[in-house]
């Protein structure tokens, strides 16, 4: 593959042709802020935070969607770039609840990180705000529309799995929202609670509901494990606090790994010290279930135990 030479913030770097600026910058340790960019997802150029200045180009260009060209000289933190980022972050904060004190995402929120990095603050204003609709119907995912910044990562990751495509954009302009199926709640939707969307959400709009009130992101000790339910082997994180495993959460579904609820619950049951009750989705929404049912092991276990009883004369009294 042909390679090209570019200069980013004074650093020379050689990268393969076809690289986007944001990828090339990461090669030399330059982190260009971006809320909607994800190397595993289709490029959309929606958040506009990654705007950079390219010498010879009058307009600022988005680093996520502009390919490197040989000899390109790029500035990622020029005055013009920084002032644009501040404006964009301010526009986002103006339409975002000032809830960082208790937000589950605090410490891991990209909006929080960038607002701090560029010194942009919440401020009073009389303008309209996103309606604060919160979908609490799922025991696995909490969706808070007021915190959504419409980066669309959830929509894109959901649509990567053919038979899911549950999330999409609804409405338009300032009233745009992420909707579930034909604007249903989670409990009446076709959502399979795989949590792909939760893993990519950069803010607190989609959070893992089983993590609520278990601890703050900076308190956890994190350990990565591979799910053993199927051959995909999706990655999960065991979150432990004060020596106890308190929760499990899915890691991003990259490399064609799909993520699923069964894998998540299995991992949770295996590792968490005191797991919450599992739920399964029925016609009328989520209902509490036994672990045997939730993991789909009932028939298997029953037969296995009967078999053991017969062969080994072990009496099962469970």
């Amino acid at each position: 593959m042909r390679e090209v030479n570019v200069v980013i913030d004074g650093k020379r770097v050689t990268v393969p042709e076809g690289y986007f600026i944001i990828q090339a910058a990461r090669e030399v340790g330059i982190d260009i802020p971006a809320l909607c960019y994800d190397p595993n997802l289709e490029v959309v150029g929606a958040c506009r935070l990654c705007l950079v200045e390219i010498e010879g180009s009058r307009k600022l260009q988005t680093a996520c969607s502009t390919k490197v060209r040989d000899g390109m000289v790029i500035h990622t933190e020029s005055d013009r770039v920084v002032s644009s980022r501040k404006e964009i972050l301010q526009l986002l904060l103006d339409n975002h609840p000032n809830d960082c004190l208790t937000c589950q995402k605090a410490g891991e929120c990209l909006l929080q990180e960038y607002a701090y990095r560029y010194d942009v603050k919440f401020r009073e204003h009389y303008g309209a705000r996103r309606p604060s609709y919160v979908d609490t119907t799922s025991p696995y995912i909490l969706k808070d529309d007021s915190k959504c910044i419409l980066c669309g990562k959830c929509v894109r990751t959901c649509s990567q799995v053919q038979d899911r495509r549950v999330l999409s954009f609804g409405g338009r302009g300032f009233d745009t929202r992420i909707v579930i199926d034909a604007d249903f709640n989670f409990d009446k939707s076709s959502c399979v609670s795989c949590n792909r969307c939760v893993t990519v959400c950069p803010v607190g709009a989609l959070v893992d509901k089983r993590l609520l009130n278990k601890g703050r992101s900076w308190e956890y000790h994190k350990r990565e494990v591979k799910c053993k339910v199927c051959e995909y082997g999706c990655s999960f994180e065991i979150l432990s606090k004060d020596g106890r495993n308190v929760a499990v959460r899915a890691k991003e579904a990259n490399g064609g790994r799909p993520l699923c609820l069964k894998g998540r619950l299995t991992t949770e049951f295996l590792y968490v010290d005191d797991p919450d009750k599992p739920y399964i989705k029925g016609e009328e929404g989520f209902i509490e279930a036994t672990w045997k049912d939730a993991l789909g092991l009932k028939d298997l276990l029953d037969k296995l135990l009967a078999h053991e009883e017969e062969e080994m004369g072990v009496e099962y009294n469970g």
């Binding site: 506009r48 526009l91 302009g173 300032f174």
Partner: protein, 628 residues
Amino acid sequence: MITVEELKKIRENTLKKMDLKLHKLQEEILDKEGALNKKLILICGGPGCHSSNVEEMKARFEKRILEKGLIHVEVSIAGCFGLCESGPNIEVYPEGIFYSRVKMDDIDEIVDKHLCENVVVERLLNEGAIESGKIKHVSQVNFYNKQKKIALRNCGIIDYNDIKEYIALDGYQALAKAITEMTQEEVINMVKDSNLRGRGGAGFPTGRKWETAFKYDADQKYVICNADEGDPGAFMDRSILEGDPHSVLEGMALCGYAIGAEQGYIYIRAEYPVAVERLKIAIKQAKEMGLLGRNILGTDFSFDIELRLGAGAFVCGEGTALMESIEGRRGMPRPKVERTAHKGLWGKPTIINNVETFANVPPILLKGADWFRSIGTEDSSGTKVFALGGKVKNTGLVEVPMGTTLREIIFDIGGGIEKDRKFKAVQTGGPSGGCIPEEYLDTPVDFGSLSKIGSIMGSGGMIVLDESDCMVDIARFFLDFTVDESCGKCVPCREGTKRMLEILERITAGEGRAEDLDRLESLAEIITSGSLCGLGQTAANPVISTLKYFRDEYEAHIYDKRCPAGACQALLEFYITDKCIGCTKCARSCPVSAIRGKVKERHVIDTEKCIKCGACMEVCPVGAVIKR
């Protein structure tokens, strides 16, 4: 399937039957005596006139003509005549008599007097068609005589539902010439040499675009006609599609031949049902004749056209959103990682041109690049169609050579300002454009000149504003439109335009604050430089241009709580002067009983109660009620 020879034969045969229509292209009133026997009544079927039931008018003409036993009179409906202000418009040939505002009940009189007795019905003549008692040929009417028609060349002449009439006026000759005598490069070079630039707004050189797609190797290429016309008050493309659909089909086929595409799509908004219907008929006729479809005119070239209907989102006029929509996805713009001419629709090389651009192509191919370049300016050759609207006397559709000044368009063709008020500004380019003040009225209209003064050519919307229009309110109107039509994908447009609108609403409501102007400017900067697509990048233009040229109006609203134009309701109050004769009409018409006063004494408005509906002002017989 027909051959080139047969095409020529159709042309000659149809031309003979159309002799009366060709008088539209002449410029003198013919000798009345000689023209007594054979006549043509041409009825305007443009968007405006069509809504006045022209089909019924035609039937009424035919009925009366039959009753009177006239045999050599033909009645025909054609595309838009352009002068929508005075519709329904009717022309009588061979004389070239131009009747306007014709009502159903006037029809018998036209037949009885004009057709039977050869006496022109003067009271129905268009105001411009008679000057100091002398009746003018329609082409000599001021509205028309400065116009030059290329894109609209057949509009108002041919029967849009008859492919033969299009063929008679050189239709499909350019396509025949290109595919039998010219190479793809020759077609592209001719379009390049003509300096034709995209008429959809941005003005990108058409030939260069085609060349890019031509040079890119791919198994499949596409041609898209962007007919998602959506600027408020704009109907240029609609009129072309309704009045002369084949010119667009032929332009697209020429593009298909030039770049090597076999499939074309017309992306048209579903709110244009008449245009959709006429396009369907046109495509069907062209296919039946072998002018579209497999092996056109017996050559190796095949090209098919299908319609794709838009669901009413303005943003789908943006090229990438349009392709998303055709692909069956939500119409949101996508970043241009690759050029559309390399990877467009379904990842294949794609050319998207506007309706008017395509309509310009056949004449260029027939008459040559030099001919086209001889019209217009160095920067922009050819003509441009504008939808002239607002406070101008002759609202309608005009096509003028590039380089015509705004003053000529507004005052000579447009007839000046309604009610002879004072001109204030002209808004060009719709929600992406800007307001141009009086001092720039002598600016020639071309791509470069307009952008120099903070506006754009755009697709051709031209709205004239007078002294009673508040510029802050105009900016608010356009922002309101943009906020409504923003797709919501990128942050600067989704959030920024909304904040801008909120500030403008506050200012026009008399609640503006000192810091608002700075905030508007910084928002304008980020919306312009940060937005993903053209819609966002140009959304702030109405605000930027009004701030530049009419800053004093903003300041009057904010600091003096006053609307200089008297348009912002919140900033004015109704007041009864001493002219009042005490007739009590105002008090009786007031819906909230805010007016008190005795009979024959001066009345008073209670401003606390007043809801500023203006009913009192309307009924006052002596003009004693004023806004201040």
